[in-house]
Symmetry: C2
Subunit: 323 residues, 2 copies
């Protein structure tokens, strides 16, 4: 017998409340940040065919749906507290729900956060998560704090880099031949690791931060516009995996520069804070690389290892674009 | 030329921040409830064909998407502060966005709340709103507070009542002949008025509360289960519009008892608080009616005006059911 809406909430998504006074099951969840702390809130919707392929394992999808939201908290330097989940799916599919809940809760447990509310409905497969974190008042990392002279940094997995998720997507789309690296690239696309510990460690160190969800070019543009500055980026200094490094330069640069779905932190800091940046990264267990600098002249200038301008058009990933 | 994702956020959904330190456009919004207050959070997703018909005017849809969420805050007695919006739509349709934003902001302005974050993407038309409100610590209205002997109350519009939204839906579906009342019934379905002022006024008065989104029977069942009590409801005492009153008793009762989409408050209070209940309703400008009582014996007993049990099966509205 098919589970109804309330039964499936109870079966898959109800757990005892811990930090929140009320868990799933009243009209609202109640949250109270500690005195002197602000609540950081972010919200992302994932839609089948746009943010994930129909071939993704439910467990990885559960992970990713929460991971992309935790990545926004990381970019603010906020410590995660809780989240809500709204889930639309064509029919009640218990195998899907079982896997999805497992992936979701594994990541939630890793960050000691809890699901405090939600909604389920029939519809095309889509999920919307709103995450809540807390940050000491006035200490949130913002997009607007970059200053001329700052170094520009990006985080990456040891051995990994920017563009892996995009390369996996292009292999699935058939634009790039499938290689033996597909499984590891696919993991980058389907199981991004939100840089929460790094974001917290960068409070008071980074001058600005954003998470890379729409690709380096597009996301950096937000920082530059908000901060009223420009930047020079050495595209050959971008951290890339061995799989991406083996590709022709134009394809490698396209994936790394405007790939999307990286969920690494892009941040700025004065050169004098280099040691503090490296210490924060070490503390968080994440690699970081300096990829350029902020300058006063507006606009983004991409250069190669010799300092020569890099041609070609690199755009942001746009969820309404057809490509 | 079609607007891209970031342009449309800027054009339709970006306004200067007021209460929130950060408005739309950083990775997170920052919120800080006043000292001694808890943040109430709720999240609802609306999907075309399930929660609204494709024929709804965009302006009314913008209103409804926020209204159903404010209704959850009302049920907790929370005062609204802010909300986030995630919007999926098949393509960028500026006429739709213009109307949707107008309806959304008209209701937001009426409650002096602001949009603090969001996400837009391509996909089947669906929207997910998360609302934030505040309530003095420990004063939130819960589902679990009903006690044997309490009166059971429901709010309604003057001249309106439960079941109007369901009757409109049945007329659109062709199960009930279209009548000249359709326009006013349609307004109930498409433009519900969240009972925010009543919820706030009932703090310290009501012993339990819930908003009616899935129909009286289904929503009351949540209160009874959470409170560990039962109830007797006089189905002929339910407030109904003239349009519904004109229908045969079985159809009238079906709409009023398990209609769904009412967004009225169902609440309980000790008989000694009757004057306080009426005063809260008057202060909020909403009508209230006593429709039954809570008793210790578990289960819900529906009776008619003569006190005789009412037969028939009345279920909750289930968003996965096909009917």
């Amino acid at each position: 017998m098919a589970l109804g809406e309330f039964d499936l909430i109870a079966k898959y998504f109800q757990r005892p409340a811990r930090r929140s006074p009320l868990g799933v099951g009243d009209d609202c969840a109640l949250l109270a940040p500690a005195p002197g702390r602000q609540l950081a809130v972010s919200c992302d919707m994932l839609v089948e065919g746009r943010h994930f392929l129909s071939t993704v394992a439910p467990e990885r999808l559960g992970h990713k749906a929460l991971a992309v939201n935790l990545s926004d908290l990381a970019a603010c330097g906020a410590r995660p507290l809780a989240f809500t989940l709204a889930l639309a799916m064509p029919r009640v599919d218990e195998d899907f729900l079982d896997g999805f809940a497992r992936g979701l809760y594994a990541l939630a447990d890793a960050h000691a956060i809890e699901l405090v509310g939600g909604d389920t409905t029939a519809g095309s497969l889509a999920m919307c998560i709103t995450v809540f974190g807390e940050v000491p008042a006035g200490q949130a990392l913002l997009r607007s704090g970059a200053r001329a002279g700052d170094d520009l940094w990006v985080s990456h997995a040891p051995g990994g880099g920017l563009g892996d998720a995009r390369l996996a997507l292009e292999m699935f789309r058939g634009r790039v031949p499938v290689s033996p690296d597909l499984e590891s690239l696919r993991l980058a696309m389907e199981c991004p690791q939100p840089r929460v510990a790094l974001g917290v460690a960068l409070r008071g160190v980074a001058s600005a931060a954003i998470d890379l969800s729409d690709g380096l070019v597009g996301d950096l543009a937000h920082v530059l516009r908000r901060s009223g500055v420009g930047a020079v980026v050495d595209v050959d200094a971008l951290p890339v995996s061995a799989a991406l490094a083996a590709l022709p330069a134009d394809l490698r640069r396209e994936c790394a520069v405007s790939g999307g779905d990286d969920y690494e932190l892009l941040f700025t800091a004065p050169p004098a804070r280099e040691a503090a940046v490296r210490s924060a990264a070490a503390q968080a267990g994440v690699a970081v690389r300096r990829i350029g600098r902020i300058d006063a002249a507006p606009g983004l200038r991409l250069v190669d290892a010799r300092g020569e301008p890099v041609g070609g058009h690199f755009g942001a990933f746009d969820h309404f674009a057809t490509r």
